[in-house]
Structures are given as structure tokens and as C-alpha cells.
Amino acid sequence: MSSFTYIAPMTVEETLSILHKQGPMARVAAGCTNIMPEIVSKKITEGVLVDISGLDELRGIDVVDNKITVGALTTINQLIHSEVIEHRATVLWQACRQFADPLVRNRATLCGNVAKASPAADGVVPLLALEATVNVESLRTGKRELPIEEFLMGPGKTALKPDELILSVSFQAAQELLGFFIKFGLRKAMAISLINIAVVFELTGKTITQPRIALGSVAPTALRARQTEAFLRGREITPEVLSQAAELVKGEISPIGDLRASGEYRLHLAGVLLRRAIEAAMA
């Protein structure tokens, strides 16, 4: 007999009451691109598989005023085909186009990528740069809107409570801002990033304002490089300023060495990619 059980709620309300009853035993499954390998490798050996793929209310991309909301069941492929994402959240669109591979993108959801909280997650880094909010709900505490920086707590760890469901992520449209995402992997598809970086900023003449720099695979969670942002704010972009920023960013990350790259190499890479990302965004 399997040590898993299965339930497929049809509404958010039903889902919340299942999560309320099952607590940590519940395993929410949508696109399943995270959970299936975890079941096969026995990282997960029991639980109630709560299949939310029938919750149509969590599908799609909404724009209200200037705020874009991506429902929990929206796949990476749907984001790639969205004109809203392409033109008003280009940094996220670029990341989606480099996410895993086309077959996985047909199933994987952006919110699943957020929930998994991999330090290298290609979907999370642009959301950090867009200052996204993760919208969650439970029967016990109702709806909460968590800034993504607070949502991410460690490798695979998030602020999501066992009875909470991610409903969506939302962020302000960024069509007025420049942005660029770079994934540096050992191959072009199905690669876990050695480092990924997203930059979003406003340019007045040659002066950078409101810089937001997010990096993945350089610390226990993907993070914002606040000191480097502060250094760049109000500065004119010159080769010297970019070299200084590239040095500075190394001081606020703590990459580990693993089978993909050494920590030293990742430090070096962070500086190089920061410069490249800013230059590419301005090009």
C-alpha cells in the first residue's frame, strides 16, 4: 500500500480546509516538476498529495492599474506568451525564456518556483528585482501579502505556514524601467545556474536611479545587493563606477563552492555579471 494519499479540491476554499486539517502532511502539487523528482528520490516518502491543478481561479495573469498579478497555476510557458510580461516585466520574461527547458516550462509554475525556494531559482531572482509580493491564504490567518525577500528564509525554506496556500505573486509593472536578466549555467537548457542576476533601474541621462539588483546562487537564499544598490544610486554610469560596483557586490554575497563551481569563481562571476547586466539593460 502506498504511503501517499491523494485529493483534488476544486476551489480555493476546499483547498484551505484540507490544508487546515492536514497541516504539514499536506503536499501541494500543481505542475509537479518539483514534487515528482522528490518522490522518486525518496526525499518525500509520505503525505497527502493535494492536487490543485483544477483550481481555475488561480490561473492567469491580471493587470489592475499598474499592478500585475500572476496566479499560482500560471505556467512559465504562459508567462513567455504573455505580452504583459514581455513588455511590462521584461526581466521576468527573459528569465522565463531561460527557465529549465520548453517541456518543463509547459508544466512548471512561477509560484511553484517561489515555493521551492531554491537559492538558484531562475524565477525568483527577477521577482526580487521587481519587488514582488507573495500572496498567501489560510483559514486560520486569512490573507497575507509577504514581500518576497521576507518570504525566502533559507534553502528550501519559506515563511509559508503548513496550512497556507500561495494564491499568486504580484508586482508593479516596470515598463518605465530598464532591466536585464542573465543566467550563467554550464549549458543553455536544464542547467542549475552557477549564478543568475536580475537588474532593474531607472536611467536619467546617464545617471542611475532606483537600482535594484538581485542575485541567485550566491547565498542561502536569492538576495538583493543593497549596498551595491546604494553605491550606484544617483551615480553616472561609467566604466570606473561599474568596476567599483563589481568589486562591492562581492562583499555582500557568500557563495559556496559545489560541484558546479568554486566559491571564488562565483565571487568573480557576480562582479562580471553585474557589469554585463547593467550594460545590457542600457544597450
Binding site: S2, F4, A8, M36, I39, D51, D101
Partner: protein, 163 residues
């Protein structure tokens, strides 16, 4: 709404209706091979890396090891075998043979299903787009060139050019 120990599903595989009782964590890949007998769906890595288990589920090419069998309930699935009489698939198969795009052959079913699904959406892709479309399917024999050549040749021939 109850929590189930087993899930009864009804799916259409290659046009035929299949009723089955699956375990909660059973993958679509396991279901197709072990219960339906679709051995044309190959089992490579079981973790979404290799693409050799690719099938068309509800109109989209997916890695069947990354789908719960229970999620296929009331959906239509096409595997390579069910697509054999399809005109585009036959052109792809002939082109694979002609260009030496099959060596050991293990990746071929997944490659063909991915290629067909891609060309239906995008009938006139560039070589780069073909490479990107096949990037989720691993081949350890051919070095990919012959596979990309084979798909490109179908595109050219469909556009009325010479292969």
C-alpha cells in the same frame, strides 16, 4: 471530497479509452508503461532531465515522469505510437532515418514527439529555434547535429524546398 488511497482515472491514450486505478504518487510515465503497455514511451532518468518519456498531454508536449497519473484524469494523451499515421510524424521519422539522426535510438521517441509538437506550433523555425525547442531532450550518441539537420530538412521540404 475525500482523501483517496487509490485514484480511479479515465484517460484517452492514443485515441482509446483506458480506465485504471492508480496509486496517488504514480507518475504518468509509470502508468503508460506499466498499465497501458506503451513501451514506446521510454524511461530514462525519472526526474525530468532527459526528455525521453515525452508525450503530448492535453495538447502540450510534457515529460511524463513529471506528471501525476491522477492528473491525467479525463485528459487525452498521445504517445509516439499513436502518432505514427500522422503525416508530419511520418516526414520526421523518414528524415531522422535519412539523416542518421538515430543511433542507439533511445532518445528518438521523445525527440520525435517534441519535434512534432513544436513544428505544429511553429511551422517555419530557424535552426536556433529548433535547437532551443529540442533542448529538453538529451541524446548521448549523435551530438545533436544530425537530429537538428533532420528536423530542419522537414521544415525546408514543407516550405516547398528541396531536402
Amino acid at each position: 471530497m475525500e482523501i483517496k488511497q487509490e485514484v480511479v482515472i479515465r484517460v484517452k491514450v492514443n485515441g482509446s479509452e483506458v480506465n485504471a486505478t492508480v496509486s496517488p504518487e504514480e507518475s504518468l510515465l509509470e502508468f503508460l508503461r506499466d498499465r497501458v503497455g506503451s513501451y514506446d514511451v521510454k524511461c530514462g532518468c525519472k526526474q525530468g532531465d532527459c526528455g525521453t518519456c515525452t508525450v503530448v498531454l492535453a495538447g502540450q508536449a510534457v515529460k511524463s515522469c513529471l506528471v501525476l497519473a491522477a492528473q491525467a484524469d479525463h485528459k487525452e494523451i498521445w504517445t509516439l505510437k499513436g502518432l505514427e499515421n500522422d503525416q508530419l510524424m511520418q516526414e520526421l521519422q523518414n528524415s531522422f532515418a535519412k539523416h542518421g539522426a538515430v543511433q542507439c535510438g533511445f532518445c528518438t521517441p521523445g525527440m520525435l514527439v517534441t519535434a512534432k509538437s513544436f513544428l505544429e506550433d511553429q511551422p517555419n523555425p530557424s535552426r536556433g529555434q529548433i535547437k532551443a525547442a529540442l533542448s529538453g531532450n538529451l541524446c548521448r550518441c549523435t551530438g545533436y547535429k544530425k537530429i537538428v539537420d533532420a528536423v530542419s530538412a522537414v521544415v525546408v521540404s514543407r516550405a516547398g524546398g528541396c531536402v
